[in-house]
C-alpha cells in the first residue's frame, strides 16, 4: 500500500528533473513506480491536484507590477461581474470572499498585472469601463514587499501565491 501522506509531502517539494521522476519518488517512499503513477492520476481525477505542471513568475517575464483590486458588489451581481473581470488577459485571479464589515466592505477580489503601475491602473480602467462598474466602490492595493516563510527573507514580490495561475507566452 502506498503511503499517501508521504507521497503528497514528497511531491510538494517538486518533481525531480530526471528521466524517470516517478521512479525516483517511488524509491523515496518505498513504493513502486506504477503505484506512484496510478495514485497521482487518481488525485488528478478527483481534483485533489488542480494542476500538475509548472508555475512561472510574472515578474521575471516583464510583468513587473501587480495589484489586488477589491470591489464592493451587490450579491446578486457577483457572479456576472466575477466572470466579466475574469475575461481579461491581465487578470489572474477572481475570487468572491466575505466582507468584514464595517470597515472592509469588499467581496470580490481580483489580481491584476501590468508592465508598471500606470499600466496596472490603465488595465483597471479598462475593466471598469468594459464591465460597466463606474461608481462601484473599489480599491487598488499595490504590494510593496513580501516575506517568505523561513527566516522572513526580504525579497521582491512575485505574487505567485496563486499556484494555479497560467501565463501564455
Amino acid at each position: 500500500m502506498i503511503d499517501e501522506r508521504r507521497l503528497i509531502s514528497v511531491l510538494q517539494k517538486g518533481l525531480p528533473l530526471i528521466t524517470h521522476p516517478y521512479a525516483a519518488i517511488a524509491s523515496e517512499i518505498n513504493s513502486t513506480e506504477d503505484e506512484v503513477i496510478n495514485y497521482i492520476q487518481l488525485m488528478q481525477e478527483k481534483g485533489d491536484i488542480k494542476r500538475f505542471g509548472l508555475v512561472v513568475r510574472h515578474r521575471k517575464l516583464g510583468y513587473k507590477s501587480n495589484a489586488m483590486v477589491v470591489w464592493d458588489i451587490p450579491e446578486k451581481s457577483v457572479d456576472a461581474l466575477g466572470q466579466c473581470f475574469g475575461q481579461f488577459d491581465f487578470v489572474t485571479l477572481s475570487y468572491r470572499r466575505p466582507r468584514n464589515l464595517p470597515d472592509w466592505p469588499y467581496n470580490l477580489f481580483c489580481m491584476i498585472h501590468g508592465q508598471d503601475r500606470d499600466d496596472v491602473k490603465k488595465n483597471l480602467s479598462l475593466m471598469i469601463k468594459s464591465c460597466q462598474v463606474e461608481g462601484v466602490n473599489h480599491e487598488l492595493l499595490f504590494s510593496t514587499r513580501c516575506f517568505k516563510q523561513r527566516g522572513a527573507i526580504y525579497i521582491h514580490c512575485h505574487e505567485d501565491e496563486n499556484k494555479s495561475e497560467r501565463v501564455e507566452l
Binding site: 512561472v56 489586488m68 470572499r97 468584514n100 522572513a152
Partner: protein, 149 residues
Amino acid sequence: MNLHEHDKKIINQLQGGFPICENPWKELEKTLEIPADEIISRIKKMKSEGVISRFGPMYHAEKMGGGLTLAAMKVDKERYDEVTEIVNSFSEVAHNYEREHELSMWFVIATELPQQVQQVIDKIEQKTGINVYNMPKLQEFFLGLKFEI
C-alpha cells in the same frame, strides 16, 4: 528576460499539465518536437533563474481536507517588522505581503485541517494584539488564460 523559442514552447505546454507516465519526457519530446534532454536542461535553467517558481502538483487544499484562507491585519509602520516576525513564525503562514493600505499585512494561512485556520488566527491575535480579518475564498471565477508578452 529574453526567453528562447523553445523555453516559451515548454512553458506554454507545461503550464497546462505534465504527463504522468513512466517516461514523461519521451512523451513531451513528441508533443514539443524538442529533444528530451534539452527539455530537462531548459527547465532546470529556468528554475535556477527564477523564471519557473514551481514544478509539480498544485494541490487543492480544501479538497485535500486542509484549511486555506487569506488573512489581513492593520499593522502600524513602527510595529511592522516585529509583527512580520511573529506572523511568519507560524509554519501555517505561507506568504506574507505588505500592501499600501490601512490593512497593510496580507498573508495566506494553509493548515492540515480546516478547523486549524481559526486556531492559528486566534494565536496570531493573542501574540500581536491585532485583529485578524479572515477572508476565505467563497467562490472562484473562471479565468481566460492568455497573457500576451
